[in-house]
Subunit: 257 residues, 2 copies
DNA sequence: CGCCGACTTGACACCAATCAAGATAAGTGG
DNA sequence: CCACTTATCTTGATTGGTGTCAAGTCGGCG
């Protein structure tokens, strides 16, 4: 866990067909380059990396752990915009300020480097800049995926999407035992899904009653049927059978009918 | 309306405190530079600029009109991710493909240029690339703003946000008469807000009954109370009085109590 | 053992999706 | 210009989904 964050070819909340690719990686030379002017920051659970409105002088990379990016709405409600896992970039300044807050969900190590030096480096090395651009574009795609989720899916489907996203991160998913270890509590989860914590709990109960998952503890979930979760996620928002082909429902019927 | 799109200092769906700034503009020299290798594309209402999954060889700028960026969910439901107005960039390739569809909402003129040439230019001119980066970051912020809207607001609030966003674009808002001319029909609006068209209509009815707007036609809205719309937008998702300070409710009470 | 926080479940009211039907506007052809 | 068709928009009725308050359960920790 020392040295420049290894930017792994894995993806949280990527589409299945669009995993994080080489386009998002930095070359070894570039890593060295950046490493020289960056500093390590070790966070423990709950630490605030920066708060929205703060003067923004650094850009950040995650090396280990999970960082939650959130923003407070005018009514005081918090919305978690994203969870960032190792390899992710966050904290781009906007007009010299951070527009979001960043806190450590669990113990985390991040690298940060002065934004003005980063800019300088990018001017000197267009290829590096292009890589950074690709990374921002990738995050942009993630945000669009969340718009799809929040705009079209009900609570259960959002939860299914969340679980499937996290199941793609080896750090949290033990594929052999099919055990998913969530690094977030119900409040964070609810603020991420855009629901109340009670609704999140109910969604868990529902997925369990449908035989898709099993709750070991509130933070440890056994994934019983990935295909079923995907089917749920892709299904209609409301349970009426119109709008979805018959053959799309049958595999689920086979397993639990 | 000829020549390179004038990138105006206006903003659709920007936060009030973060209007589109000089950071998003290209210098005259850069405009010339890009103009040389770009081609004009005139679209009429309903024209498809590109469809999701298409091979992506061009990047696009809006010169006039409105383009809707949409994606089809697995269940067949369409989600409109954004409306792009003059000055906006869209259609960045992802792994050589477009991930979204782009169609003309009304007659529109767009400029497009080959992505590989754009890349080449950016490598040669880091400043240009940095400007493009800022533009993508800006779009990223817009996407985050939509996550906030979709995650936290009910249908009426979303509609209020939509109206307020469009009211900031001079092309659609006659400030003297307080008339807002929507370029989209109820279906597009519903797919943008993540609701059913009926819900969108009901939301209009509700805002009207609260004296915030008045429907002239289905596409022409008179804005009666901008402050009231903002207040609604910032209020709690559900009408229970808990969680919001008393003084925040009183101005609304004064007007319609 | 008792406390405390996180989580879960129940009850209820409200919101919103859906289906259905009516109303309005926009084309279209005579 | 008018009747007709069509698309779009609106409203009503119904049902499922979800936020909210309240109470209960579970697990950790002193």
């Amino acid at each position: 866990m020392d040295g420049w964050p290894e930017i792994r070819a894995r993806s949280f909340e990527g589409t299945a067909d669009q995993p994080r690719t080489i386009a998002n990686l930095l070359s070894r030379k570039e890593q060295e380059q950046i490493r020289r002017i960056s500093s390590v920051l070790d966070c423990s659970r709950g630490d605030i990396v920066f708060a929205e409105g703060d003067e923004a002088r650094f850009v950040h990379f995650v090396d280990g752990g999970v960082i939650r990016i959130s923003r407070c709405a005018d009514n005081g409600q918090r919305q978690i915009l994203a969870f960032r896992v190792p390899g992710d970039l966050f904290g781009l300044p906007d007009a010299g300020r951070y527009v979001n807050s960043a806190e450590a969900v669990c113990a985390a190590r991040i690298y940060r480097l002065a934004w003005h030096r980063m800019q300088q480096m990018m001017r000197e090395d267009p290829q590096l800049q292009l890589n950074l651009l690709m990374k921002v574009v990738y995050d942009f795609r993630q945000a669009q995926a969340r718009i799809m989720t929040l705009g079209q899916q009900n609570t259960c489907q959002r939860l299914a999407s969340f679980l499937l996203d996290f199941a793609r991160v080896p750090e949290f998913f033990d594929e052999k035992r099919a055990l998913l270890n969530l690094p977030v509590n119900r409040f964070d989860l609810a603020d991420y899904l855009g629901t109340a914590p009670e609704s999140a709990a109910r969604a868990f109960a529902r997925l369990e009653s449908q035989g898709l998952i099993r709750r070991i503890t509130s933070r440890t979930i056994e994934i019983l049927d990935i295909a079923g979760l995907q089917l749920l996620q892709r299904g209609p928002r409301r349970g009426h059978s119109g709008g979805i082909a018959e053959e799309k429902r049958s595999p689920l019927q086979e397993q639990f009918g």
